[in-house]
Subunit: 234 residues, 2 copies
């Protein structure tokens, strides 16, 4: 059973838990059982705090319950790149855990005050002795999340595969427009973050955006974009 402290935490955070894609179909009773089963720990992080540190041994899979963070990778030469963003309901570590990795290959850093659920990797992956169907449903939900993450990575790859900054921008903005089903849309990055995401120099990208605006291909203000698709295709 849960310790008293854990029960208090659980009661406090159950609503957040219930709102995630992983635990959405679970009852309070099931959830509580899984908390025990997965050896969960709740933990609150301040902005800029490390939730996971690159290189540390993988013990847990994390689930963001409140707030958000970035997944950051530092390569051998010290270059920092943002691999992805994590929002409420997102998980990190599932792939590495399933693939049998030993160490985290990225750091996860809170970009605001963030509540995180830690779930023991082994407990989550290996079906419990009694083969509970709650566990199965969590795995099915995890599968959907990993699949979606996969598709996000494929999207990013599509953009990064383009050779020029302009093509990268158009690939990204085109997709955003398609997703929004509109020529008007809002992007989830500011300009600096977008440059990081697309792995291009910020000032060069800013310059390219200006040119495209002058040429009438796009219009934008802050995160609001308007793409003139008719002018772009051919």
């Amino acid at each position: 059973m849960l310790f008293l402290q854990q029960i208090y935490e659980f009661m406090e955070y159950f609503q957040e838990l219930k709102a995630t894609k992983i635990f959405d179909s679970a009852s309070e009773f099931d959830c509580q059982a899984m908390m025990f089963c997965f050896k969960t720990k709740f933990k609150m992080f301040d902005k800029n705090e490390n939730i996971i540190t690159q290189g540390n041994r993988i013990e847990d899979i994390i689930l963001i319950l409140k707030g958000g963070g970035i997944v950051e990778n530092i390569d051998i030469l010290g270059n920092i790149s943002i691999v992805m963003q994590l929002k409420k309901g997102d998980v990190y570590g599932v792939e590495s855990a399933y693939a049998g990795d030993e160490y985290y290959k990225d750091s996860v850093i809170a970009t605001e005050k963030t509540l995180v659920l830690f779930m023991n990797k082994h407990r989550l992956i290996n079906p419990c002795e009694n083969r509970c169907k709650r566990h199965d449903s969590v795995i099915k939900n995890l599968m959907r999340l990993v699949a979606e993450s996969n598709l996000k990575l494929l999207d990013k790859l599509t953009h990064l595969s383009k050779k020029t900054t302009r093509e990268k921008l158009l690939s990204y903005l085109g997709l955003m427009s398609e997703r929004a089903k509109s020529d008007y849309f809002e992007i989830p990055f500011n300009i600096t973050e977008l440059a990081n995401y697309l792995s291009v120099d910020r000032s060069a990208m800013s310059n390219e955006l200006s040119k495209m605006k002058k040429e009438g291909l796009i219009d934008y203000d802050k995160r609001q974009f308007h793409i003139f698709n008719s002018k772009i295709k051919y």
Copy 2:
């Protein structure tokens, strides 16, 4: 039950099926039951034949039983890029199926004579009425595959995030060396394919490789590489 034709096929290909990560733990009886459950079809493709065509409606998830292929994406401007390679035991379509996509976003093309198993998307994803545990084991295996695919995409993203061709090459070759646990290793691409994979101009990359060889950073012949790690770090 299976039609006679299907039984013949099944008997002929059971060994290949058994050798995959998806069906490894299943008995012949279980496999046969799943063949029925997933409405499977076996199909043989010649080199350069389309196994899956970009834009077609997603009906099946595929599993490569013999041979191999490439996943190829053509963007709106007609640029072709190799998204990944598929080898014996690899699957394609799982992520899109789980994420609820309607159409294939890539084409899959056989690079040699290739045997493919088609499995009905709906049957595979939705647990069967009797909640058979074979089905669960297949899903668990699929999960591992998707997780691994995810990590492959992350690797590629790491390389593509580098700004110069040299950095991309070193990122890729460095990883290959790490994986091989040796300064000597073989890469799964020829030079032209590697340029495609890294999304750089082939001739420019060839040129860069030559320079790096002259500078004594690497040595190579065909697909055999030798990386002088000591000269590279710092």
